[in-house]
Symmetry: C2
Subunit: 355 residues, 2 copies
């Protein structure tokens, strides 16, 4: 499957297929220099592939620490100086092979090397489908994630699904949270469809048809981002589950997607209280627990520190905590939620695990 | 005087006037946070002004090392972390008060802080008129100048000519080289006009009417850059005098503009040889010597090391040294020049100082 972004300019293709890497040649044949920037964990599993590409295209190979640990200013400095020592010209393409963090880091390198060179993303995780649109690249500051960065689009995203075969289940769960979130932002049919495709852990592990859901996820995110260019604030919808999720993630240091799923359930509870909705929270708790999301970790948490973390969220304004809530499936709104409501929702959430 | 850039989008005003700073308010009234990034030397002379602005707009003040010494990765890291510690939002404007280096550094901070915040340039040197168009921002690598950076435009350039009153003459000379270069790229009338305005050191020191020539210089550069968006390579014309000039600058560590003027004279000699022109080289040697440019430093140089430096220039390709030559005043061309011609021109250049 292939789709093309629909920005006003600087569009790029996103190819989502098994063996998509076979098409890499079409996108890199005209560059003088190619640099593969590869996550260490991916290199451990797939060096036969990365070596093949390096030989085939006479590319430099640069192995970087796995995940977020690579996104420091110190490592950025070391890496960009090392790239510059190779006397690269602006006719260079960096190819990020790894998850979201590898893409963020490589994209920021590309954005700032010689005032900007091209880059291509080769995502190797499910979660990375989320960062394959949006053009956000960057590294972390000691004051927070992604605070140093740019908006800089890749020339292509080449999503070779073969890489997903070696993903641990925990990584699958983390990525599935954003896929599921995109279904919730889309419509009720999308949600029913994905839940019936992946009713339990065994089904999700198989990753059958995942290409369809990645495609839909990318498309949903793209539609929102392009709409945001005209109507500001729509982009905030993508934070569904993230306000509470980020607080839990920060507190418990659990994978991003696990925390986002907890945030998504929390959001249903808040919507029931504050928007007078009657979402079937038990359904979501049961479904996600069947998939093995550790929702019950919230039993070990206190509200007060989470509230303080929610207040620090950079999407807030002077009026306090802002959340994305579903008015209905596929129909998100952004609302300020007061302390009492948040606290009440938190206690309600805990009751699902105290039976 | 005021002009507006003529890019396809993201245009900005360039105001060139005495007391232009009085108009700063119009451009910064809507920001939540303002940060003044000030060159140490400027702060030494003009702290009464910068303090006034800081108080008036409740701005943070950040004093940075003077000139190119500020443009290191280490200092970038220190500065961006310090800015992030202030919990700035994206509704922040950085104001660069200083010369070209201050603008380059501040622009790169702005380009990468929180994925991009606005910035305004307040140039305090003549040379900085050159970097007020073109959108180039960046810092230096240990492998060369400006190798880490981005294309990122300011929201406004506010050129308050009062700052020029305290410029040392050496700085005036360095800036005048680019002003004069822009006249050479423009037409013969511009050159005659500027030479009669500034026939000698005393006249140039007065900086009478400099606002007109800065305006013309900015306009010439802008025209070339905008033309380059359609017809690639026109931008190279701006390197007039820079191929040989950069080599001399690197070798002797003299100010940029002094070296560029030497490069401009060299270029006339090469044009006479290779394009069969009859530029009056003695006229340029005499005029620029009267202004006190140290043209005779080339007497102390050998050709071979300069040639090696010219070969390293990043504008070259496989065919060797590329130079911008004037076919006529106002009519530049880009040509590959061979070793023999360059060497011959170099020896000819020396004869002007061996009489």
């Amino acid at each position: 499957m292939k789709l093309e972004t629909t920005y006003k300019s600087n569009n790029y293709p996103i190819i989502i297929e098994h063996h998509a890497l076979d098409q890499l040649r079409d996108y890199i044949k005209n560059y003088k220099d190619i640099v593969l920037v590869i996550d260490q964990k991916v290199e451990n599993e797939w060096s036969h592939i990365t070596n093949f590409i390096a030989t085939e295209y006479e590319a430099h190979k640069l192995i970087i620490p796995s995940g977020e640990t690579t996104k420091t200013l110190a490592f950025y400095e070391e890496t960009i100086e090392s790239l510059l020592s190779k006397q690269l010209t602006r006719n260079t393409c960096l190819i990020a092979i790894g998850g979201g963090a590898t893409g963020d880091f490589t994209g920021f390198l590309a954005a700032t090397l010689l005032r900007g060179v091209d880059f291509i993303q080769v995502p190797t995780t499910i979660l990375a489908h989320d960062s394959s649109v949006g053009g956000k690249v960057g590294i972390n500051s000691k004051y927070g994630k992604n605070l140093i960065g740019a908006f800089y689009r890749p020339k292509a995203v080449i999503y070779d699904l073969n890489f997903l075969n070696t993903l641990p289940y925990s990584e699958i769960l983390s990525g599935y949270a954003e896929v599921y979130k995109h279904a919730l932002l889309n419509d009720i049919e999308s949600v029913n469809h994905i839940e019936s495709q992946y009713p339990d852990e065994q089904a999700l592990k198989s990753l059958n048809e995942i290409e369809y859901y990645l495609y839909k996820g990318v498309q949903t995110k793209l539609n929102i981002i392009v709409a945001d260019e005209k109507e500001s604030n729509v982009r905030k919808f993508l934070n569904l589950g993230h306000t509470f999720g980020h607080a839990v993630e920060y507190k418990l240091k659990i994978p991003h997607g696990h925390a986002v799923m907890i945030g998504i359930v929390f959001q249903f509870i808040v919507a029931n209280i504050t928007l007078n909705k009657s979402f079937d929270v038990a359904h979501y708790v049961n479904y996600l627990s069947d998939l093995d999301y550790p929702l019950d970790v919230i039993n070990a948490l206190d509200f007060e520190p989470l509230y303080q973390l929610m207040l620090n969220d950079k999407k807030n304004d002077e009026q306090g905590v802002q959340m994305v809530l579903l008015n209905d499936i596929g129909n998100p709104v952004v609302k300020h939620i007061d302390y009492t409501t948040l606290s009440q929702a938190f206690e309600t959430f805990k009751t699902y695990f105290n039976k």
